[in-house]
Every structure is written in structure tokens, then in C-alpha cells.
């Protein structure tokens, strides 16, 4: 009976329109934020902070980006990693070439660069839909990686386009510990996630969903299809761009264009499908799932090997991972198209009725 909204009446539309309309949810989210911002940096070890939590947050941000485009605006993209690459390389170049530029400004500009590239490759969406568009976004994927590799300017003429991201400096303070980078990432991701949530519950988001669900009806309401689709491409790519910049600056440090390959694009797509198409929360759940699953498999493998006295052939785990990912995708599409986010919601509904199911 702890999770109950009974007695909480909404006296105004403002209250009804809150992101978390139920008091218990607000408390839970507050607690989660305190946990993430205060407890985790204190208790988590270096491995968890820099090898799991930081990339998890970064991928969640990329998944939010793709979710805006695919989940909300209905435009399937297979080029997510390319937009991340644009963000990473743009941020690197801004810091490199503009002396004294604050890192956050560089990130914002990186997002804008990614948005511009997104708009460019989004142009075909005005004339084509569905998997035609998906194929068109592959053009972005291959072209961007090629261009970043081929033109030395982007990587300050390093071999095969490898760049080493500069140090993160904020107000003269260098962020170089795992906990610092984690907090830096967390702050950006939390702010952008909130912004995304606000966008999708306002007229911009409704226009995206309208175009996704029934484009003719949307246009008859007066929604401009071109502007709406391109805004989705732009904002989605900006999110991916910032995620890419974080990937380089806060996670790996050294990246190359080839690292942002089609496989990475698929990975983010899987996060969206498994987490929940058209859900900001789902983007986090999906990212967590896809980041944690391989770690889980790799931890479980030696135990199983040991337990059964077997020797697994080399590459077994990575191939098994492919199969598990693929099978999960099919499973979720068939059984729960709204992904983990929906399961979470169902769980909450159950809890709301518990312990009296009627």
C-alpha cells in the first residue's frame, strides 16, 4: 500500500502535466538522483565508474537521440554512430583550434555540427519513408567515417584518423579522475534527458509523433512535414553528437573514425528497441541492458566453464552475444514492442493495486 496515488488529487492542469504526477515517483526519482550524484561516486570503484557507468550514461544519451528520431518522429536511422563521430571530432577540433574555449561551449558547438550533418542526411526523408530512409542513413554512416579518416584536417593529421581528446577543464579545474568524468557525464546526460522529456511533451514532440503516426493528418492540422522531420533529425543528431563528444572526452580518451562503425549504430538501435521505442526512460533501460549483458555473459562464462569442466572455443562468447542480442530484438519486437519501459510501467500498475488486486 506504499505505492498508491489515492488521495492525491490534481487541482490544476499544471499538476496534471508534471513529468512525475505521482508523489511517490517524485520521491523515488529524487532519491535516485541523490544516489547517482552522491553515493555512487563515493562507493563505486574505478572499474565500475569508468568502464560501466560512464559508457552506460553516454549510450543512454545516444539512445535518447535515436529515440527522438526513430521512436518519436518515426524516421528509422542506421547512422547513429556517424553523428556521434561528428560530435567527437568536432569537439576535438574546437578545443584544438579555438584557444581557451570552455569545454561546454565546445560540446554545444559539436552538437550543432552534428545537427547540421543530421539535417543534410535527413533531407531525403522528405521524399522517402521507412526502410528506404534507413538505407539512406547508411550513406551517412559510411560517408562520415570515410571522410573523417581520409581528410587529415579532422584529426590534425594523425595516422588513420586517431584523435586523443584533450583534458576536460572546467573553470580551471581538471576533470581527470574516473569519478570526476562520471559526474561530468552524469550532469550533462541528466540535463539533456530532462530537456528531451520536456520537448516530447510539448508541441514539438506532439508534432513529431503526429508525423510518425499519420503524416497526412498531421499536415492537414498545419504541421509542416519538412520542418518537423528536419527538426527531429537536427535535435536527434545533436544529442548523438554530444554523446559522441562525451564518448571521446569522458570515456575512451582516444578514438578513431572506424570506432564509430555500423555495429555501434546497431547497438544504439538495439538499446532503443529493447528499452522502449518512444520512451526517454526506455533509453536508459535499454542502454543499461545492452551495456551490462556482455559483462554479465563474460562473468558467467568462466563460472559455467569451470562448473561443467568445459573449454569454450575462442570467440564463443562474442558470437553468443550476437545471437542473444539478435534473438532479444526479435523477441521484444514480437512480444513487447514498447520494450523494458512498458514492462516497468506494467510492474508499477501491479504495484499500485498491490496488495488488493481489485
Amino acid at each position: 500500500m506504499l505505492y498508491r496515488e489515492a488521495g492525491q488529487f490534481k487541482a490544476s492542469y499544471a499538476e496534471d502535466q508534471q513529468i512525475f504526477a505521482i508523489r511517490q515517483d517524485r520521491i523515488a526519482v529524487g532519491a535516485l538522483l541523490v544516489f547517482a550524484f552522491v553515493v555512487v561516486p563515493l562507493v563505486a570503484n574505478q572499474y565500475w565508474l569508468s568502464a560501466i557507468l560512464t559508457p552506460l550514461l553516454i549510450f543512454a544519451l545516444a539512445a535518447i537521440g535515436l529515440n527522438i528520431l526513430t521512436g518519436y518522429a518515426g524516421q528509422l536511422s542506421l547512422g547513429t554512430a556517424a553523428f556521434m563521430a561528428v560530435g567527437a571530432f568536432a569537439a576535438y577540433n574546437f578545443v584544438l583550434r579555438v584557444p581557451g574555449i570552455p569545454i561546454l561551449v565546445a560540446f554545444v558547438l559539436a552538437g550543432i555540427c552534428a545537427a547540421l550533418v543530421g539535417i543534410l542526411f535527413g533531407l531525403p526523408s522528405l521524399r522517402i519513408k521507412g526502410f528506404y530512409l534507413a538505407v539512406a542513413t547508411l550513406a551517412a554512416q559510411f560517408f562520415v567515417v570515410w571522410a573523417l579518416t581520409k581528410f587529415g584536417w579532422f584529426s590534425n593529421n594523425s595516422s588513420s584518423g586517431v584523435i586523443s581528446a584533450q583534458k576536460i577543464e572546467i573553470l580551471g579545474y581538471t576533470v581527470d579522475t574516473p569519478a570526476g568524468k562520471y559526474l561530468f557525464t552524469l550532469t550533462i546526460v541528466a540535463v539533456l534527458a530532462l530537456a528531451a522529456k520536456n520537448l516530447v511533451r510539448s508541441s514539438t514532440g506532439r508534432a513529431w509523433m503526429a508525423v510518425r503516426d499519420m503524416d497526412v493528418a498531421a499536415s492537414v492540422i498545419g504541421i509542416r512535414l519538412m520542418q518537423t522531420k528536419l527538426s527531429a533529425f537536427a535535435i536527434s543528431s545533436a544529442y548523438c553528437g554530444v554523446a559522441g563528444a562525451l564518448y571521446a572526452f569522458a570515456y575512451l580518451g582516444t578514438v578513431e573514425p572506424e570506432g564509430f562503425n555500423l555495429d555501434m549504430s546497431f547497438r544504439v538501435l538495439f538499446m532503443v528497441i529493447i528499452g522502449g521505442v518512444g520512451s526517454i526512460l526506455g533509453s536508459f533501460l535499454g542502454a543499461a541492458f545492452i551495456v551490462l549483458l556482455p559483462i554479465f555473459l563474460n562473468t558467467a562464462a568462466p563460472l559455467i566453464e569451470h562448473g561443467l569442466g568445459l573449454q569454450m572455443p575462442p570467440g564463443f562468447m562474442s558470437n553468443l552475444e550476437l545471437i542473444v542480442f539478435g534473438a532479444l530484438i526479435v523477441f521484444f519486437l514480437a512480444v513487447e514492442p514498447h520494450g523494458l519501459a512498458r514492462l516497468w510501467q506494467i510492474g508499477k500498475e501491479k504495484l499500485r493495486l498491490w496488495p488488493f488486486p481489485h
Partner: protein, 297 residues
Amino acid sequence: MSFFFEVLIGGLLSGVMYSLVALGFVLIYKASGVFNFAQGAMVFFAALTFVGFLEMGVWFWFAFALTLGAMVVLGLATERIVLRPLVNQPQISLFMATIGLTFVLEGLAQLLWGSQPHGLDIGIQDEPLGWISDATGMNISKFDLAAAGIAAALVTSLALFFSRTRIGRALRAVADDHQAALAVGIPLQQIWGIVWTVAGFVALVAGMLWGARNGVQFALTFLALKALPVLILGGFESIPGAIVGGLIIGASEKLAEVYLGPYVGGGIEGWFPYVLALLFLLVRPEGLFGEKHIDRV
């Protein structure tokens, strides 16, 4: 000039092989409305399985038959496990499901046969044809020519299959209108089974040809992706479109690489077909052979 033609012909011939992969897409799309992203993975799976059997010492044709059998089982299983539960879902969900299938197939193939690349010898050498070189000074690969011949034969027989046989006609009926086909008693599931089998066969042939040329390795899956721009050019529903699209992509990417590549640092083959297809879409969104249509409301 003869160099230009050499590049052009080389491109056209490799284009035929793109057509071959694209054909698998078209078959499945026509019959079930599914854009099967996994076609490339099927090519890889087939090639790897075939090589695997060969390396176990199985006789060539027997290995061929075994692999074909595996592809049939795979096709039927896909129909059963992937497509049937997703029936009536939006096309885009089916498309994403086939991306999932792609991962399953790639993982499964390597789990069964290992991840290392294999050579494949199907008895035709990749060397210039002597008499053409002598007569014209152009180097045209014997292998490319043979592969193109095989692909052409396959395409022709498929075209005949669709226009002359009862099953073929039923297939076309299904492609035109699922509901109507069901209404006149065409067993949809059986048809889908057949289509996936044929697509598996096409994948096997494509896998053998590509594998013999470039080695059987993971990179095959990327080659197969090149079939996608082919489809955009030719339209998803048109067999002639797949063929012409393949030729255009094959020829233009080679010509672009040779004549444009040097100005921009080379390596443009990787993206040129996509960008070409994209530009083409801006001009003619319905594809080469598609018909313009206005959404009904």
C-alpha cells in the same frame, strides 16, 4: 579508352553479383512485404557453411546439397519464429526484426564454423581471358565472366519460374494482394516457405561466387549491404530493377573509384553507391521502375 571499357566491364560484371544479392531481397519482399535485412547474413551463413562442409572433405555437390538443406531449414524456421509472430505489425518492425535475425545468423555461422576467413575454390580462376586481352588489350576476368553467366542463368530461370509455373503465379498473386490471395485459397505460409527457400538458394549461389572471389569472411556481410542501394535504384518489387540497379551500381562505383577517387584520397567505393542512391531518390523517389503514387486519404 580501352582502360575505360575495362573498368566499365569489370564494374558491370561485379554489378551482376550485387544484383544476385538484391534478387534475394526482392523475392522475399514481393512475396511477404518483408524487407529482409538479413539477406546479407544469409549469404555469409551459406558461404561459411558450404566452405565448412568442403573443408570437412565432403564432395562438392554433396556439400552444396547439404548447405541448401540448411538454408531451407533456416528459411522455414525464420518464417515460423520471426515472421509469424510479427504478422500484422508495421513493416518497419519486421524490418528491425530482420536486423535482429542478421545478428543471430552472423553469430550462429561463426559459432558453428569459427571466425577465421576461408579461401574457396570453385574451379574457375580469377585471371584475364587470354583471347580478349590479345584482341582488344583489355583485361576481363574469366571468373567475373563466369560468375556473371551463372547469375544471368539464375535470374532467367527465376523469371521463368515466376511466369510459367503454378507456384510462381501463386507467388505473384500473393505479392499483389495478400488478402485476396488468402481469399482464393492460396496457402500463404506454404508460399512463404517456398520463397524463403528460393531466397536461401540465391544466397548460397551469391555466397559461393563472392566467397570464391574475396574469400569467405565476415566482410561478406558488408558486400551484401551494397545490395541495398541497388534496391533503392531498382525498386524493392522489381526483378528487372534489381538487375539494372546492380549493373548501374557496379559500373558507377568502379568508374567513380578510378576517375574520382584519386581527387579525394580514394576508398570511395564504400559509400559511393549509397550517396548515388540517395541523390537518385531526391530526383525519383519511386525508383527506376516504380510507379508514382499519391497516398489515398
